[in-house]
Symmetry: C2
Subunit: 457 residues, 2 copies
């Protein structure tokens, strides 16, 4: 596998900083040897342009949808979901939007580019960057960045920046910044919201002490890894999709699962004894175990629910981890917003009242009291408030209504609001999906590299 | 599926003659609607160049191996097996050999190009041609030809010619000729061999009377068609290959089957209660049912054995049909050659003595007596002989030894003669094969067309 090793060297050489400031991550940037034989999946539907170009790259176990171009990169067990990109002609734009990945290394990373500027084609380039385990790149370009494990860059252009482990940034733009570990940071035109995790708490859930990713999150994921390895080995069959709802065959459904109308389950989601009400959606790398989602729930990329009962219209942000247990269940009231990267890991039963925002690290009712606020109260804020781990400043109404608007947009995009011919979303447009299965070179110098592939509809 | 219909029209318009002289076939040239959703399979091994280009074409249910380029063509349930093509560098040649299909329509057709000129790259082009159900194009270019159902063009360049139903031509070159139905014609430098079927016999086995292909052969194949439809639907899984031998996962194995060392079973072969001895090979569209092949047997493309016991080193030619039954089995002696397109359909048990050539239409011992000759006797012929349906003229030794040499070459090519590191053939080189699965466009104007695809190793 000389070619793959050379490619890895070439990617790393463009990230010379990594060996210094980011030395705790350098051990995580590895040539994917064990995964070298995994096939890649290219999903094609009638609703999305069939366009895939992969050149001088290894993409074992990865999944592509929409217009994607990958060059000189290693994408291991990653997802590129360009299903919300605009096509030439839409809104008068003159060229298709495309996810371009160039000179980058992504491992277990979700890239979901959705298009926001109605009049102009956006650029979704990931260049000379490294995104590590269970990181998310959502909706904006990234150049010369390092995303540490479980980091999320959401609607934020990242340039020459480092995002710490389990940090979440949604600030529109980030340049020459180094965001520490466990920091959650959202900023809009007229507000800013921040909270962070105590290093000891963070270390319990994710740590890089041993030169590998460890901790509760990783143990949880590793225990379920073999289900996905089987799905992406090409040795098992995709399941057919349900009429009325859509569960991607490259998701795992175990135990007793039920899906309501217009429910949507993305590839690489994991459901075990999960009941999804009408219009509920579960995105990539989500785990829904022994849980009920009553309807129109959003489980954003990488969020995990164990023994959770969600009433309707609950939003759970990227990489949030919500774990109850039998006898100490978590109930989340209608219309609640669980901030991205929140950890709720219960010692006792907890019920979050309806229409609340929660954040931070919560183990019991007392923590919840400290780390939650009624959305109505937050909407009245006009200055600076601090509560529990949270620091908020600016226009609370702008934050609350903006967030609720985004949730509505996500529900529409996923098909939850479909009424016959109107408001089609993923749950409807995926129903004619087919999967091209693409194998890497199986031996010799090229082992693990994908042949150069072009598929154009 | 407007694009596919337009493509069909464009292919047919280049075959203007079809409506006149070939009107009995025009109904058979149909837009593949029922098959439009079948996926195509691209096999890749370390031993063969990974190179596939498909443009403006529909290839439902088709299978590709080796360097293949397909443009402006419809290939329905067909096989392109370029695994014996030479690569640039081999024997000093300067460019890869490639199967090129352009402006053609192939249905259930096997194209197997093997390379014969050691010093020069051969051209394997199929251009502006139509090859119908269960026809074979083997090892040479074909331009502006019509191959009717079950026709075989073997090592013969065909230009502006028509090959009749169930006819076999191996004459090196054919230009501006119309070969009638049921005619078998081999010619070498210093010999010529011919036989033909009575029209009534032929009509029983294949007829086009109803505007479709009918008759015993077709009934036999249709009864087993659903097994293959399942394999190529993408809804079932390829089986793993056997160590020591190789059975392609896109073959069907039913009942009790056993494969000896170095046995080779190609894609789209069908085995049911079949025992293959060491080094036996079974090629595309072969059916081996309730039969035993003792070892180093060759079952050429499209041959069928039902209740047959073959001793060692038996060769059965293209599209031959050998059918015994319980209580009236057929036994074929060691080293026999069953001529291409022979029909042995028994009313009583028959035993072909070792080292004989058989041909024509045989139902019993009397027919066998008329339509067989000891290879030793044939090798002594130097003039013209007629026996049963056969007419032979020229150097019998040249024919017999040439044929035996070809059989040896086929055994070597299929890996039957492999001894450790030497004489590797298909049974060995396929063991690391992987299968890219490629889906046609599922709806709209492009329905049934494959997206433009390029895969280069």
């Amino acid at each position: 596998m000389r070619k793959l090793c050379t490619l890895m060297d070439s990617i790393l050489s463009r990230r010379a900083g990594l060996a210094g400031a980011d030395s705790d991550c350098s051990a995580l940037v590895r040539t994917p040897e064990a995964e070298a034989s995994f096939c890649a999946i290219h999903a094609a539907t009638r609703a999305h342009p069939v366009h895939l170009e992969i050149e001088n790259s290894a993409v074992p176990g990865s999944y592509f949808l929409g217009k994607c171009v990958v060059k000189d990169s290693v994408l291991c067990l990653s997802d590129l979901r360009g299903d919300e990109l605009k096509c030439a002609g839409a809104g008068g734009i003159t060229r298709d939007e495309t996810i371009h990945v160039q000179g980058s290394y992504l491992v277990n990373t979700l890239v979901h580019a959705n298009s926001h500027d109605p009049g102009n084609p956006s650029e979704f380039t990931i260049r000379d960057s490294i995104a590590l385990h269970y990181s998310n790149i959502h909706g904006a370009p990234v150049e010369r960045c390092l995303l540490k494990p479980f980091a999320t860059l959401d609607l934020t252009t990242g340039i020459d920046s480092t995002i710490g482990t389990f940090s979440y940034v949604n600030t529109g733009r980030l340049q020459n910044e180094s965001v520490g570990d466990g920091r959650i940071w959202m900023a809009g035109k007229d507000f800013e919201l921040k909270y962070s995790f105590h290093p000891d708490v963070l270390r319990r859930y994710i740590n890089l002490d041993t030169g590998d990713v460890g901790g509760i999150f990783v143990d949880f994921l590793r225990a379920r890894q073999s289900d996905f390895r089987e799905v992406f080995s090409g040795k098992t069959l995709p399941r057919p999709c349900n009429p009325g709802s859509y569960a991607n065959p490259y998701a795992v459904l175990k135990g007793e699962c039920a899906l309501g109308d217009r429910a949507f389950v993305a590839q690489r989601a994991y459901l075990e004894n999960a009941r999804l009400g009408d219009g509920a959606n579960v995105q990539e790398n989500c785990y829904i175990i022994d849980s009920v989602l009553e309807g129109n729930n959003v489980s954003a990329h990488g969020s995990k629910l164990i023994c959770v009962h969600e009433e309707k219209n609950v939003f759970v942000g990227f990489n949030a981890f919500l774990r109850g247990a039998w006898g100490k269940a978590l109930r989340v009231g209608e219309g609640c917003i669980v901030a991205p990267h929140t950890i709720i890991d219960l010692d006792e039963a907890v019920e979050i009242p309806a229409q609340h925002l929660v954040w931070g690290f919560i183990r019991n009712g007392k923590d919840l009291e400290a780390n939650s606020v009624a959305l109505d109260d937050l909407a009245k804020v006009t200055g600076k408030v601090e509560k529990g781990a949270l620091s908020f400043s600016g226009n609370g109404g702008s934050f609350v209504h903006g967030f609720q608007h985004r949730v509505e947009h996500i529900l529409e995009g996923n098909g939850a609001l479909c009424t016959g011919d109107r408001h089609h979303g993923h749950a409807q447009t995926y129903c004619d999906v087919v999967f091209n299965v693409l194998h890497p070179i199986s031996g010799g110098e090229g082992k693990g590299m994908l042949p150069s592939i072009t598929i154009r509809g």
